[in-house]
């Protein structure tokens, strides 16, 4: 009898141990669909390299013991191309897909997956969105198969306006944004949230310019100067931010502070250089000099590629997936999706939570300022000798915004 109990206990232990490591040694294929050509190619290339680089890191040590493999496909920043890229990725056996540049392609993936997953039980695919920040994706258009790891436009604006409301020098704000969903959202939330927190602040300009078409921003700078603005808020990224800041530097617009979303993305640090020191702020869930697990990765990445690893949400993606695999005891997207909902895990910016109601990651946000590197913040951006130095950290609850998502669960 004693022996029987022992045998049963031992076999139970064995089974459960086997259950924990059911996924050990498995290869998890992740399809990366983002631009590798066109105006945003530089950003896409950097992020694909980051995904591959971090896959190697996580293959060495992840709690689930799985092997990550990245299939990179160019989606040319177009929703149509994204849909066919997604099909090709699924044909190659990818059950996880990541994308981030542009909310249009993100929406295309969500639509395609809603249909695919409903029609192909047993072959479901999960979408991890690492940078598309249109709040609609986790509100009116939310989907069970979509998880967002970046903070959305409204969350970042919540943090930014919370910081700005205590600054007496902010009196006249000028908005300049790209004329598409993201830029329009930045402009909308800036006005709404500022009106709530600092009704005395005046908006002296609200420009929307075509995306990635303006080569010369000096006319806009002349307009900003004429408006008497002391602060500019912009959601611009890529060449649109680089050229804007450059034109401001050239015109000597040095009494105006810029509050940005994407100051550290390829091209912008070089354009800012020393001339913009102390005048450009950025709101993000990370910065280059973050201590902890991300630090060594940023350093190694720089050594290997002579480039910046600025997309920290990729780290979220691998951490969340491997912990999800352990919890679900499987790499099957259906089981994993169920445990990711509401899951809390430790990332580089403290404990974060994948909110169950809308699949929006709740995380702390940093406000940082473009400054010369120093002993405490030694890692510079694009070898400029300058970096974003954190000036304020906001706990997840500060930047959290409500959701209107009515999620349909399968």
């Amino acid at each position: 009898m004693k022996f029987a109990i022992k045998a049963v206990a031992a076999s139970v232990l064995l089974v459960s141990a086997g259950g924990v490591f059911a996924q050990k040694g498995e290869t998890v294929k992740i399809a990366w669909l983002d631009p590798l050509s066109g105006l945003m190619a530089a950003v896409g290339t950097n992020q694909l390299k980051s995904f591959q680089f971090l896959a190697e890191e996580f293959n060495k040590k992840n709690p689930a013991g799985v092997k990550f493999e990245i299939i990179g496909i160019d989606n040319k920043l177009s929703p149509q191309e994204t849909t066919s890229a997604l099909r090709s990725a699924m044909d190659q056996g990818a059950r996880y897909v990541v994308q981030g540049n542009g909310s249009g392609p993100a929406l295309a993936i969500m639509d395609a997956l809603e249909k695919h997953n409903a029609r192909n039980p047993g072959k479901e695919v999960l979408f991890l969105n690492y940078a598309a920040v249109d709040p609609d994706l986790t509100n009116s258009k939310c989907s069970y198969w979509h998880f967002r790891l970046d903070a959305d436009t409204s969350m970042k604006m919540e943090a930014l306006t919370t910081y700005m409301k205590d600054l007496p020098e902010v009196k006249k704000v000028y908005l300049i944004n790209q004329n598409y969903s993201h830029g329009q959202q930045v402009s909308k939330y800036a006005k709404e949230m500022m009106a709530r927190k600092r009704p005395d602040v005046q908006f002296v300009g609200d420009d929307l310019h075509p995306l990635a078409q303006v080569r010369d921003f000096s006319p806009y700078i002349a307009k900003i100067k004429q408006s008497g603005a002391d602060t500019v808020i912009t959601g611009n990224w890529g060449s649109d931010l680089a050229l804007l800041i450059k034109a401001a530097n050239d015109a000597g617009l040095n009494n105006v502070n810029f509050y940005t979303y994407y100051g550290s993305v390829t091209g912008s640090p070089t354009a800012m250089g020393s001339a913009a020191a102390g005048r450009v702020y950025m709101v993000a869930y990370a910065h280059m000099n973050l201590p902890g697990p991300l630090n060594q990765i940023v350093l190694d990445y720089k050594k290997k590629f002579n480039d910046d690893m600025y997309t920290g949400s990729i780290y979220h993606a691998y951490t969340m997936l491997s912990e999800g695999f352990v919890k679900a005891k499987s790499t099957d997207p259906v089981k994993v999706a169920a445990v990711l909902e509401g899951m809390k895990f430790k990332s580089f910016n403290g404990e974060v939570e994948m909110r169950k109601t809308d699949h929006q990651l709740q995380q702390g946000l940093f406000i940082s300022k473009w400054e010369k590197v120093n002993d405490k913040y030694p890692i510079d951006s694009e070898n400029t000798g300058y970096t974003f130095v954190p000036v304020k950290y906001y706990e997840p609850y500060v930047a959290s915004t409500p959701t209107s998502c009515q999620m349909k669960r399968p």
């Binding site: 590798l36 066109g38 105006l39 190619a41 530089a42 290339t45 950097n46 004329n179 420009d207 929307l208 310019h209 075509p210 990635a212 078409q213 303006v214 080569r215 010369d216 000096s218 006319p219 806009y220 002349a222 307009k223 100067k225 004429q226 060449s239 680089a242 050229l243 450059k246 050239d250 015109a251 000597g252 617009l253 390829t266 091209g267 070089t270 354009a271 480039d307 694009e382 070898n383």
Partner: protein, 317 residues
């Protein structure tokens, strides 16, 4: 609109227009001489910027200002000699296609050699900072330098074409190639030099434009369409027309940015109220400043409808 804004915007517009002129003059020259619409023209602009970036990191900016256009000249001439000349006999479409192919080839090569991201191509110390301050706004030396080089270039091209023997031969080869050949001039070589020269002008624009704006692989595509607008609006093959059109487009685009008026304002003037429920509201609420970057294309369409030969064009067909 106050005086300060007016003067600064005018200066910005003129300097942007002059850069456009540098870019389109080479295209105009090649088109008027050889009848070839060179789709790879802005690729030579990009090459100029990248060569200048590499050369200036070795020997400094000033030698690069001369050397980079020279390298582009050699490449352009070689392309004409060994590639374009071979397809010439098959007519205009193969010529067009071969330059189209070249633009893709150059883009891929640039990405392979210099990578897909921005390169840190900056101006030397002497050209950085403001030249003068006007009502509190600085006017950068870099922009003044663009203006200076463009004007010098205009002057020298004009002198070369009208006051020298080479210019005479070039002009004659344009109208009476057989006669010029019969007189003992090597017309194919003249064409080769003209093509190389046009490419070099684009290269020179790249040396200056590359650091006034940003040097990256998409820089060619981003100016590609606008210089065709300049050439068509100015009149195919007319250098003076290209000059006029570039200035016009530069200034119009710059000033349009300041005009926050939309069709709603126009309707209000005639007493028609427009609300969000009105049909076509998203279109009606667009302001002139929002459509500023696409105004040149509107201009292009209007010119093609009402004056197909362009502002100063001479071709009647």
């Amino acid at each position: 609109m106050n005086l300060e804004f007016f003067v600064i915007s005018l200066l910005n517009g003129v300097s942007y227009g002059l850069l456009l002129f540098m870019l389109s003059s080479g295209l105009t020259l090649i088109f008027s001489m050889m009848g070839v619409l060179n789709f790879a023209h802005t690729s030579f602009y990009m090459l100029g910027a990248y060569f200048a970036f590499t050369i200036s990191s070795v020997v400094g900016f000033w030698p690069a200002l001369v050397l980079a256009p020279l390298v582009v000249f050699v490449m352009g001439a070689a392309f004409e000699r060994y590639c374009l000349r071979r397809v010439h006999k098959f007519g205009h479409v193969p010529e067009l296609l071969v330059t189209f192919g070249l633009s893709y080839l150059i883009l891929e090569l640039v990405q392979l050699v210099w990578g897909r991201s921005t390169v840190p191509y900056g101006l030397p110390e002497q050209l950085q900072g403001p030249l003068f301050t006007l009502y509190g706004t600085q006017f950068p030396k870099s922009r003044s330098f663009v203006m200076l080089v463009a004007l010098l270039m205009l002057l020298s091209v004009w002198l070369l074409l009208t006051r020298t023997r080479i210019g005479l031969v070039i002009q004659a080869a344009l109208k009476y190639p057989e006669m010029v050949e019969a007189l003992g001039h090597n017309v194919p070589r003249v064409f080769m030099l003209v093509f190389g020269g046009g490419a070099a002008l684009a290269g020179l624009a790249g040396v200056i434009g590359g650091n006034t704006y940003v040097t990256e692989p998409a820089m060619a595509a981003s100016v590609g369409s606008i210089i065709f607008v300049v050439v068509v609006v100015g009149g195919m093959g007319s250098l003076a027309g290209a000059f006029l059109a570039s200035l016009l487009i530069g200034i119009v685009q710059t000033f349009a940015v300041a005009l926050d008026y939309s069709l709603i304002h126009a309707f209000r003037l005639v007493g028609v109220a427009v609300t969000e429920q009105t049909f076509g509201y998203p279109l009606l609420k667009l302001t002139i400043s929002q459509v500023a970057p696409i105004l040149p294309y509107l201009f292009l369409v209007l010119i093609l409808i009402f004056r197909p030969k362009g502002l100063l064009g001479t071709r009647e067909d």
